[in-house]
Amino acid sequence: METALTQLGPGQEVGLADQAPDFDTWVAARGPGLLRLAYTLAGNKADAEDVVQDALARALPRWERISRVEDVDAYVRRMVVNAHTSWWRRWRKRESPVAELRDTVVDDHGAEVDDRRRLWLACQALPEVQRTAVVLRYYEQLEYAEIADLTGVREGSVRARVSRGIAALREVMGEDDE
């Protein structure tokens, strides 16, 4: 499945298809995608950079091996998600009750933008495990089984996390189940 991470511009695939890429080449091509993933997980630029740099710093000493795994993108994506989870746990961020977001976002760009902004903030306010599952499912477009592999939980748990996350988002947005 093509994921958000693999959506690159023309030419960025050069050198990555049939041979083990060197670290700089791979980061130049895939780094922006990793940062976008980290940004959707962390919700701000500083933490996104922190998470991706941490993952890549761990990957660098092992790059000779990592660059030869079957799916380098998936492997490093897993490292980024792990780094995000570790970072989040390390600082023990308090989870914001999603309901508190309702009607709190004021935006000058009209109702549509306001709704989009509210939905984004509501995603960021989800409990960490739900937010990760939702991001991997709807941003990375991964299958439930792939998310289960990546996060180390059973597929049923992944489905439950995504379902609860979506239900919470619907509640914030004032939408009924379809």
Partner: protein
């Protein structure tokens, strides 16, 4: 997907455009990697390490010019994995294999320096302690993990299970092997079918091995069910050397040991070093146990989700799996006894 789910996907994609652009990302990661590096110190060995002396096994059929060779076996089963016997999973790098529950740990030459018989079964990993011996037979039964030179394009291969003769092995020993991805798993025993059954379980894995450990340290805590603790030992390159899954009372005791270790100030990291370390998954937290570093550096300790805690004997007791024969830095509080493997547990 529903309309609402499509909206979620669209919002996540559009908002992701605000992410940093990634300029200088590789250099930034490189700088951070330098800061993470450790100081290599003269290790205090717990045993004398000598060159590995694995007895050569007859691996090819045919020829007929070797009167000591008895080609009786055929190819190992290609059905993998199978689970025909009670056992546990052993891993080295990215190959896992199931071995019978009563197999112990150590070099296949260990019997010679103790009071054991050459009929004992051991699991041995390249890099472990091998005593210098001059016994006959040189080797007992068991399983060996070894690194072999394979190109990325090389296909996995099997050595047929062949009965060995001569002084290297106990009489009527069958030896076979499976090679894949730079690792050779060699199995020796008196029961040909058992050797075949064990070799049939050799497999690569992903993303984690049957004990919940990744082949290359991915920065995570490993995977485990409720009440379980994966114990993953990595070499300095981050390659998995040994894995284990603690359960029941053992897991509870390991969690208690980790939670009891007090936090300490980080201090300064030292210069570059790559030493082995252990990652334990404790209630979802990554617990990195660094025991080879210099005592004057902050790179020794128990890092719970990156926060530095005191390295204690209790934590080391659980971090060092049975069969560990590595080395620790000076002053490391090794427990009075290392864990040994109890097949009855």
């Amino acid at each position: 997907m529903s309309d609402f789910e499509n909206r979620v996907a669209e919002v996540l994609r559009s908002e992701s455009a605000a992410a940093p652009d990634g300029l200088g990302l590789a250099d930034a990661a490189r700088g951070r990697a330098r800061a993470r590096r450790r100081t290599r110190v003269a290790a205090v060995g717990v045993g004398a390490v000598v060159a590995i002396a694995i007895p050569a096994a007859v691996v090819a059929l045919g020829g007929g010019d070797d009167p000591g060779r008895t080609p009786v076996a055929d190819d190992p089963s290609t059905t993998k994995p199978v689970d025909k016997f009670p056992g546990r999973w052993e891993t080295w790098h990215n190959l896992s294999v199931r071995v019978p529950t009563d197999w112990q740990y150590g070099a296949l030459t260990t019997w010679c320096v103790g009071e054991d018989s050459p009929e004992e079964f051991n699991v041995f990993r390249e890099g472990g302690v091998v005593e210098s011996i001059a016994c006959s037979p040189q080797s007992s039964y068991g399983l060996m993990f070894q690194a072999i030179d394979m190109k990325d394009t090389d296909e996995p291969f099997d050595w047929p299970v062949v009965q060995q003769t001569g002084d290297a092995w106990p009489a009527h020993t069958y030896v076979g092997a499976h090679g894949e991805d730079g690792v050779l798993v060699e199995v020796a025993g008196p029961d040909r079918q058992q050797v075949l059954d064990i070799l049939a379980t050799v497999s690569t894995f992903g993303p984690v091995d049957p004990n919940g450990c990744s082949a290359i340290d991915d920065g995570g805590p490993g995977m485990a069910g409720a009440g379980e603790v994966p114990v993953c030992r990595y070499d300095g390159k981050g390659r998995l050397v040994q894995s284990e899954r603690l359960t029941g009372d053992d897991a509870a005791a390991a969690v208690e040991a980790v939670r009891a270790t007090p936090q300490e100030d980080g201090g300064n990291l030292c210069a570059n070093v790559e030493t082995e370390y252990v990652v334990m998954g404790v209630e979802g937290d990554r617990v990195e146990v660094q025991y080879a570093g210099n005592s004057n550096c902050a790179d020794r300790g128990v890092f719970i989700e990156g926060v530095d805690h005191v390295l204690t004997a209790d934590v080391l007791y659980w971090a060092l799996s049975p069969g560990w024969t590595g080395s620790v830095g000076p002053g490391v509080p090794l427990p009075s006894a290392l864990r040994s493997y109890d097949p009855a547990a």
